[in-house]
């Protein structure tokens, strides 16, 4: 199964070298994405989701970061490629969209010019052909009157339009994999839904696999087939989306689900306060001993304080990093 995976991350460790010392922001992460699959990557801010995504395209500053492990894209270890080989994969086979649609487009060029630039970069078309294809991409992401909008500067577009343009740019070379790092976090809710619909539709049309990074569980529930939950640089749980939501194994996942307001919960579970997970994700410098979640875990036992938990692979294909299931 994993050999056929489009992207397989194996024992990824990302270390940041800072003035205060060196710290692992991602510490032994394993996951994979199948072809034409949407994988959800969930966790609080600072748990290493974005760092994992950025290390796939090796976008972290090379002087201050050290990446260990394997990132296999179609069997090729991206960590072993030279700059030129990597550049040919970026945007062409693996693409990425970012959280801030307001700042992810260059203010001095029109939207069309920027999309056309990416197309020309990888496909060697003439400027005219690239421009036409850029307009086509804008039409595909359902921007009204794309010919006119292509000539607009980013500041003339709304946040939702800019994110659509960004998606058009990221998908302009029909990548096999799209890394979407909180693509809708900065947008308002109705626009979020539109963008998500768009991404689902494009996935079907272009056969693109998506890694959707979000802390929005509702979004993940809608979009993803499988979910990887990260906490403090480690994968704490992996499960198909339905199982994860109905029967979360890890106390952290339960906490995440408990802290989401569900309309209608009052009727089924009685009047209950919204749950919260006490405390915050530990900083890289103050990682707790044993299980990294134990200071915030309602079910922490003595062993959790002392020993790091083992990864439990269950027969149903789910895995969890917790002493409760050992």
């Amino acid at each position: 199964m994993r050999d056929g995976a489009l992207l397989a991350i194996r024992d990824l460790r990302v270390r940041f070298h800072t003035l205060e010392g060196s710290f692992y922001a991602v510490d032994g992460v394993d996951w994979h994405v199948e072809r034409r699959e949407t994988l959800g990557l969930v966790g609080e801010s600072g748990c290493g989701k974005s760092v994992t995504a950025l290390s796939v395209l090796r976008l972290l500053p090379p002087r201050t970061t050290e990446i260990q492990g394997q990132i296999l894209f179609e069997g090729i270890n991206l960590l072993e490629l030279d700059t030129e080989q990597l550049r040919r994969i970026r945007g062409n086979s693996v693409s990425m969209i970012f959280q801030e649609p307001m700042t992810s487009l260059n203010p001095v060029f029109t939207v069309g010019e920027q999309i056309a630039e990416t197309i020309r970069l990888h496909q060697g078309l003439t400027p005219k052909e690239a421009w036409d294809q850029a307009v086509e991409m804008l039409r595909l992401v359902q921007i009204p009157s794309p010919e006119a909008r292509a000539k607009d500067y980013p500041h003339q577009l709304s946040g939702g339009m800019r994110q659509r343009a960004m998606i058009a740019m990221a998908l302009s070379c029909h990548p096999q994999l799209l890394l979407a790092d909180e693509p809708t976090t900065a947008l308002d809710v109705t626009i979020q839904a539109q963008i998500m619909d768009l991404m689902l539709r494009l996935r079907e049309e272009m056969h693109t696999s998506i890694v959707l990074i979000s802390h929005n569980l509702g979004l993940i529930a809608e979009m993803a087939r499988r979910v990887v939950v990260m906490y403090a640089g480690k994968v704490v749980e992996e499960a198909p989306v339905r199982e994860l939501f109905h029967d979360p194994l890890h106390p952290y996942t339960r906490g995440l689900l408990g802290s989401v307001p569900w309309i209608g919960r009052k009727q089924t579970t009685g009047r209950r306060r919204l749950q919260e997970i006490p405390g915050i994700v530990p900083g890289l410098m103050e990682m707790p001993s044993g299980c990294r979640f134990h200071p915030r875990c309602p079910e922490a036992k003595e062993v959790c304080r002392r020993e790091p938990p083992p990864t439990i692979h269950r027969d149903d294909g789910r895995r969890v990093l917790c002493w409760l299931w050992a």
């Binding site: 002087r63 990425m96 990416t118």
Partner: protein, 296 residues
Amino acid sequence: MSEVNATTSLAGEEAVGFSPFRRGWMKLLRNRAAVFGGLLILAYLFTALTAPVLSPGDPSAPNLMASLERPSWKHPLGTDELGRSILGRILYGSRVSLLIAIGVVAVGLLVGVPLGLVSGYYGGKIDFFIQRITDMLLAFPGFLLALALVAILGVGLKNTVISIGISMVPIYIRLVRGCVLAVREQVYVEAARALGTKDVTILRRHILPNVLVPIIVQTSLGMGTAILFAAGLGFLGVGVQPPTPEWGAMLGSGRAYIFNAPHVATFPGLAIFLAVLGFNLLGDGLRDALDPRARG
């Protein structure tokens, strides 16, 4: 006060459909001081281009019979100690100073901007190396550095340009590097990298256009400074050599007659003043018009 704000924000809105540079241009035209500066520069360019028409004959041919004459119809600004028309020499001098100013700024831009871009974008050892050299150059006051370089290279037009140009290079390096440090952290630069854009293309298409505004402003101010420095070197006798008409040298030689023929030193000084004023006013206006923080 609120009315003023209302009109300026309106002006911003009506310009929404234009590129940032087009919008800056429209704001510039509303700034009276900048327009005045621009007119001074236009007049300066005009005289530089048409000097042989405005003042026929060799501006350096002496006519000792007419030395140190006061302003008259024949010589509107009088004559110098060798009887040459001061107006004619000022007109021709504008060509020399314009040539120097353009040359100096070209040296500063061609050397300083690429070094600043590389230094800021790549960082690390290469940044350290470039910045320490910049530190060394900036440790000297600019004019002193130019003077020292002239002492090494020798006098003359070409060496004047090179010396003043080199003394301006560190200013461009620092300016560009600082701007690049801010721009390279922008999401669109990261997005461009994520889409596989080459470093050269990122520098040229994504970073350079976004640091262009301070470069343009510095170029205008730098032209003024270059004229001033060139005049300073000329005044000290180590710049462009006689008999080439050069404003600083004219001022220097007129100094000896300051009491009995003050016009000899005054008019070249005025020419320097107006040219430098023009570039400085335009530079300030450009900064106000193009600075996104000062908008509205």
